[in-house]
């Protein structure tokens, strides 16, 4: 007798509980490490370390957990209206969707065993720093470099080159941690998830929403804070969790190979 592969209570219950944890951590993060002026946005959004790995482990359930937890975070304690929250929360949906998609397309059976602990410790530093420098460089160029030229252009160039170099080094170091495919896809997921969710999150807080709660001038500071914060959280805590718990998810049958089951 074999087990049918369809959505069962274990998926629903895990999703509900993971969403609850994400919500609690989201509240705690946004209160302890706030980005001043952007409620619900945390400099270190620890909740992402729950639903993003959940996207790796359980596919669309992780994305849904990100959405729902962010939606409620938007309502309380951030105080956004229900429509604003409904639009804004897609940021966290996207954040978990990225690894969910990448893993389901590229790595069916991820192996997060750490074979080189030093590489595992170095990778988050390189990835976070590299991407942060890259982002800062781009922001400087957009805000000031185009209009004023030097010294902003130089800052932009150096930041971008250094950022790129460090990011690439971070990705390569990630490949050395263990199974190259798993770790490679994971590092790329972390970077893309942070950037895409930051774009949506910052965009819907400042540029597009019904209405955006903050002025458009706040876009760049919110974006930078969002992306860097998520990178740090995902590359440190998120990594620790996927290493510690992936095997657990697999052995308990919670790991979802498809999108929902």
């Amino acid at each position: 007798m074999s087990r049918e592969r369809k959505v069962s209570w274990i998926h629903v219950v895990t999703f509900a509980f993971a969403t609850a944890i994400s919500y609690v951590l989201g509240v705690v993060s946004s209160l302890i490490f706030p980005v001043l002026g952007a409620p619900g946005v945390s400099a270190l959004y620890v909740a992402a370390a729950i639903y993003v790995p959940l996207g790796v482990w359980m596919g669309m359930w992780g994305a849904l957990a990100g959405y729902v937890s962010c939606f409620f975070l938007g309502l309380y304690p951030s105080g956004y209206s229900v429509i604003q929250s409904a639009v804004w929360s897609w940021a966290d949906f996207i954040e978990a969707l990225v690894p969910a998609v990448l893993f389901r397309l590229a790595v069916k059976d991820p192996d997060f065993a750490v074979r080189r602990p030093k590489a595992a410790k170095l990778m988050p530093l390189l990835v976070s720093l590299g991407t942060a420098l890259l982002l800062v460089g781009i922001v400087v160029q957009v805000l000031w470099g185009a209009a004023y030229g030097e010294p902003f252009t130089t800052i932009y160039v150096y930041s971008v080159y250094a950022g790129l170099a460090l990011s690439v080094a971070g990705i390569l170091t990630g490949l050395l941690v263990g199974d190259a495919k798993t770790w490679g896809v994971y590092v790329v997921s972390v970077i893309l998830a942070s950037v895409f969710s930051g774009l949506w999150g910052a965009g819907t807080l400042t540029i597009v929403n019904f209405p955006p709660p903050l002025p458009k001038e706040a876009f760049w500071p919110v974006l930078v804070g969002w992306v860097i914060g998520d990178l740090i959280v995902l590359s440190t805590i998120g990594t620790a969790l996927v290493v510690a718990l992936t095997e657990l998810f697999k052995r308990t049958g919670l790991y979802v190979e498809g999108w929902w089951a």
């Binding site: 209570w9 944890i21 309502l75 252009t153 709660p213």
Partner: protein
């Protein structure tokens, strides 16, 4: 019956008349305020929404003192808006204050970073802050008047399967459960010798992160056990059943309120278009 807000923060709505309204009405009213905020582009229309929301909060019996839970949010938003508009934008108008913070010769001209406050910037900031206040109040109204039970049975009565309604119920149960777990884990770390008060911020961050592993391991165990129990109850996530036991009546007052707030939002939309 505790509302979502009372479950999260202890704030409770006390007016039975308001609480006895149909859940759709209680959802529609804050939704309509939220929609109206979209069309409030001047200070007076934004402030009107603030007063409407405040009046509804009083009518629902939510203590006004509960607004102080949002003071930090509102204060922080206000500061950020002011900083954004006065430091990062140059809104034309009568200059009320101007101060140059950074000035140097760049390649293509003089780079100046100024604190630039005009009457229009102040008005613009005020509109933003008022809208935020209205938004915060609408969120409070929503959470303070809806119970999780209403959401659960509401979803069922919409014909959604058991999976949706039970997921919502477990989400609310889960919040309390995991707060309690987190505190137990933190306490257990203390029992082993960790002194959170004395640790550096980075060490604290590392320790709290450490606590996530048992928290998630507990989540897995709980999910496993709860789902096993659910499997044996004769329902699947996909199954649906007609709601015969909890039926919420839709009264004339519900109809009147929904009409009133539809009109409000329509007026705002018209005003915006004109």
């Amino acid at each position: 019956m505790p509302t979502i807000l009372s479950e999260l923060s202890g704030i409770e709505a006390r007016n039975e008349r308001y609480m006895s309204l149909h859940v759709l009405t209680k959802l529609f009213i804050p939704f309509s305020i939220a929609l109206s905020i979209l069309f409030a582009s001047d200070l007076y229309s934004a402030l009107t929404l603030v007063f409407v929301a405040l009046a509804l909060i009083v009518a629902a019996g939510i203590p006004l003192s509960s607004i102080k839970r949002y003071v930090v949010v509102i204060g922080s938003l206000t500061s950020f808006i002011a900083i954004s508009l006065f430091l990062f934008a140059r809104i034309p108008g009568k200059v009320l204050f101007e101060a140059c913070l950074v000035r140097f010769e760049a390649e293509k001209g003089v780079f100046e970073w100024k604190l630039y406050i005009t009457d229009n910037a102040v008005m613009y900031a005020s509109v933003f802050v008022s809208r935020i206040f209205a938004m915060v109040l609408s969120a409070m109204l929503l959470l303070g008047t809806i119970t999780d039970r209403e959401i659960v049975w509401g979803l069922r009565s919409l014909g959604l399967p058991f999976g949706a309604s039970i997921a919502v119920s477990l989400f609310f149960r889960g919040i309390r459960l995991f707060v309690s777990d987190f505190l137990s884990i933190r306490e257990a770390m203390t029992a082993r010798g960790v002194d959170f008060a004395r640790e550096s911020l980075i060490k604290k961050f590392a320790l709290y992160s450490h606590a996530l592993i048992p928290l998630l391991a507990l989540m897995i165990t709980r999910s496993y056990e709860v789902s096993l129990a659910l499997e044996t109850r004769g329902i699947t996530p996909q199954s649906k059943a007609k709601v015969v036991y909890h039926r919420y009546g839709f009264s004339r007052l519900d109809a009147a309120l929904m009409l009133l707030f539809s009109v409000l939002t329509s007026l705002y939309a018209l005003g915006w278009m004109i």
